[in-house]
Amino acid sequence: MRISKLIARVLCAVAIVWAANALAGFVLEPVASNSRAMWQDYRATERLDTLYLGTSIPEQAFYPQVVDAQAQTSSFNMCSSAQHLEESLMGLERALADHAELRCVVLGLEYDSLQKVGVSNPGRAFVRYKNVDDPLAAVRDTVTLLADDRLLGTADSLNWVFPWVNEHVYLLPTDIVSNVRVKLGKEALPGASWEEVERLGQGFSTTSHVFDFNEDLAVPYVRTFGGAPFDERKLDTLRRICGLCQERGVELLVVFPPLPVFSVLSYGRKYFDQGAQIRALVGEYGARYFDFNLARPELYDVTRTDVFADFTHLNRTGAEAFSASFGRLLVELRAGHDVDGLFYGPDEYLASKDYVDLLCVETQARDGGIAVSAEPIAGEGAQLEYQMLVWRPERQDWEVWRDWDASAEALYVPEGPGVYKLRVCAREQGKDVPYSRYRTVEAAV
């Protein structure tokens, strides 16, 4: 084969692959991804004295405008979905370089940030949009991430070449079509809202959905993320963040934003031990750790059920409430007041939770019926009772088949085989309410 023909063929192959990749990216890459929107906001920010870093939990918790109004700060939320500490460090370095006025860094830390090697896609998007105006930094950050253990030698490293694989719209025809239409200019970008996420500026995004503790899918934090011991490399990255802040004379506050109470209760005593580990580590660098899950009611009411968008993230109401509390904490800190009294110790915390926060139900076909087992997540001292019901479609109503009793297990024997909708209600003994929490399941026999 002549060399010119060979070159032509290679160029043709590259062109087809590039075109296919570009087309897939055009169709699937969201016109307004979280990272892209956040970095657009960042570039528009003129003054920044307080910076929030972290994953989607702090991303949807720190409402900069609310904190600013409370604590007279100019803050920016640089958090992003599943942001690794390595990306937080990159973001911090960028902010320190851009904003000499930066005085306070708030690292919104959840335990998973110190446990996981985890997903890489946010790293991909975070780095990509962070460096759209700085190709050299893009190369440096890309090499840094690709050389990191979490990507080195894995499928994600190759998928780095195909950004749409990890950063795409929901795979629903309507979303894909809408995405394409916006990109073609046939449809306007739907304002500050996209895929049910409201973007309120200063990097903050939120949703208005209210998580239903009884009806919505609920998985405690420890079951979602595993509750492993902290990874030594992640702790090293945390040390680097602390060290950088100390070196630059920037105050560092490490903050665990609120989770539903059931996530703390189901984590067990290890929750407090791991919290103490973080406190000790950051303390070595003069930084402070605040866990808002242990906040006393006078600072923040962790028992509210209208503040979550899902079983992990705050909604807009929750972000407003939490950010107002956090703003107050900042004011107290600036005033030099002792704020330790605003948080429970482990025993005090557990003693204060004497109710059921989440009810899970397991079923198993047994002895010609359905064995129903209620598994409450409740405070250590909670004394509970349970009522069990079955849905009667012909009457469109629930029928009690076992009345209130302290036993969490019972056998439902139906008249015939089929799929049955069963509900278990739970409440604290002696409390005269229809239920404190309930859960509905379907089971076949």
Partner: protein
């Protein structure tokens, strides 16, 4: 280092460049590049495991040379003798020495394999799981595969099938050739070594074939196997008395697709990689789901292991004196057919029990092996009855209708076997089988599957369906004697690229749906 990773792509590009540059400058030294690349690949999986592969390579290489030396000594001694009895005595003396050495090297290598793979299971069965004697070693990459490959070399040199390799580095390359380390195939020395040690120049058509095979393997692995993992687990992990049989059967069907796509996809990938170097590795799959009997299936599935078992376990066992005596006795007692097939049937049961054990020490694997061995044995033993039944029913055994029936029947029999393979707890396995047979309840399937809450379940099934259709079309063409790659290579260049792009997009869609890639099912054997 995963095959689907930037690191591997860079490693492969580097190795290919060095390989072909060295091939131009000093053609005889190309194998050195392959050895360095293979050692590099192995070291990337953990340098601690290097000792194991070196132990196997050195012991088998040394023994191959020792056998040849003993043969030469025996020949020399016999040459000076005239008496036939003395010649026979010399031959037997040397044969005994060789046999001792053979058993020693078999014991050493199988001992290492057994210690690392089975020792903890034995301790566990004895209630000593936490014993200080427990093996703390991680399974070295490709341990079963390179052990079996090396033992085939040892047995072949023992039998004088070919001359032993004189160079240890060259033999080490045969054992450690990096594409075969992950999950085989189990190559034979006389087929692979000449290619590894030969000279290869860049070849456009061969490279195209390699790329197509690699892309086809990626499609199978990531657009079928990976996206079905969650559904298979959801359907088959934790079967309860009330689980509809249709859900279990659906899970097993998905597992069929998952397992085939995972294993054959991985093999396609490594064969494609090897092909880029101009080295053709042993074929491991030949459209197994078009098989017309279970025996035929196992001649099409994991072919290199089946051939290994046939050559080094089945024949030696079936041809032992006790087996021959059993054949004669049963021939006299039950007739000629039984006399001829009974030893082979028993040997088959033993072989499949060993294959089950090779998969792992867990009871469900032994049940799976026993099931396959027994089904094949019964089919062989009752062959005359089957033929008679066909005659009575006036069915044309060579006709298309009966061929399709046999393919479907084999598919069913194979899938029953997968119950034992996939469902780890034997009690749950029998429960799943019972529900499939006695409580199928197809009307509950959709609801039961939906209630499993598998993420993006329908999209995963749709993607797997599209990819399965591509695999089916290619397999059907191959079954009809067409080479799908050759058909594609005859098309215009741009069309070939488009075919690669389509397979690539399907692969990437697999990652869109399931971002975390699972390892290969057969990577830990």
């Amino acid at each position: 280092m995963e095959l689907y990773s930037l690191q591997f792509v860079l490693f492969l590009c580097g190795a290919l460049t060095c390989y072909y540059v060295v091939g131009r400058v000093r053609p005889g030294a190309q194998w050195v590049v392959l050895l360095v690349a293979s050692m590099g690949f192995y070291l990337a999986s953990g340098w601690q495991n290097l000792a194991f592969i070196l132990l196997t390579a050195v012991s088998c290489w040394f023994m191959g040379r020792r056998f040849a030396a003993l043969d030469a000594q025996a020949k020399a001694e016999r040459k000076g003798l005239r008496d036939r009895a003395q010649k026979k005595a010399v031959r037997e003396r040397y044969q005994r020495r060789k046999r001792v050495l053979l058993w020693a090297v078999l014991a050493l290598n199988l001992g290492v394999l057994a210690y690392i793979k089975y020792w903890n299971a034995i301790l566990g069965a004895l209630g000593q799981a936490d014993s200080p004697l427990a093996c703390r070693l991680l399974l070295p990459l490709g341990l079963s595969f390179y052990t079996f490959q090396s033992l085939s070399y040892v047995i072949d040199t023992y039998n004088g099938k070919y001359d032993p390799e004189q160079s240890l580095p060259k033999y080490l390359l045969f054992v450690s050739w990096f594409p075969q380390l992950i999950q085989g195939p189990i190559n034979r020395y006389d087929a692979l070594a000449p290619q590894l040690l030969g000279t290869h120049r860049p070849d456009a058509e061969r490279s195209w074939r390699g790329l197509l095979l690699l892309s086809f393997g990626l499609l199978k692995k990531y657009a079928i196997a990976n996206v079905l993992v969650s559904s298979v687990s959801a359907c088959l992990d934790g079967i309860e008395p009330g689980t509809p049989g249709s859900l279990v059967a659906f899970g097993i069907l998905l597992y069929s697709a998952q397992q085939y796509a995972d294993f054959s996809g991985g093999i396609d990938m490594v064969r494609g990689v090897s092909e880029l170097f101009g080295i053709e590795m042993a074929q491991n799959f030949r459209q197994p789901y078009f098989a017309t009997s279970l025996g035929d299936f196992w001649r099409r599935w994991h072919i290199s292991l089946g051939a290994w078992m046939r050559d080094y376990v089945f024949y030696p066992l079936a041809l032992t004196a006790p087996m021959q005596r059993l054949g004669k006795w049963s021939g006299r007692t039950f007739g000629q057919h039984i006399g001829r097939t009974l030893p082979a049937s028993l040997a088959n049961v033993v072989v499949f029990l060993l294959v089950g054990l090779w998969h792992g020490p867990e009871p469900h694997y032994l049940l799976w092996g026993l099931y396959n061995g027994l089904v094949i044995a019964i089919a062989d033993l009752t062959m005359p009855l089957s033929r008679r039944a066909l005659e009575l029913l006036r069915i044309d055994a060579q006709g298309a209708f009966w061929h399709v029936v046999r393919v479907l029947r084999t598919f069913l029999v194979v899938n029953i076997g997968w119950y034992f393979d996939r469902i780890v707890d034997p009690a749950q396995c029998f429960l799943g089988l019972r529900n499939t047979l006695c409580a199928f309840e197809p009307q509950l399937l959709a609801g039961a599957y939906a209630s499993l809450n598998v993420t993006d379940a329908l999209k995963c099934l749709a993607l797997a369906g599209v990819a399965c259709a591509i695999v089916f079309a290619v397999s059907l063409a191959a079954e009809r004697g067409h080479d799908a790659a050759a058909l594609l290579l005859a098309r215009p260049f741009a069309l070939r690229i488009v075919a690669l792009v389509v397979m690539g997009l399907c692969t990437l869609m697999g990652f869109v749906l399931v971002p975390s890639a699972e390892g290969f099912l057969y990577a830990n054997f």
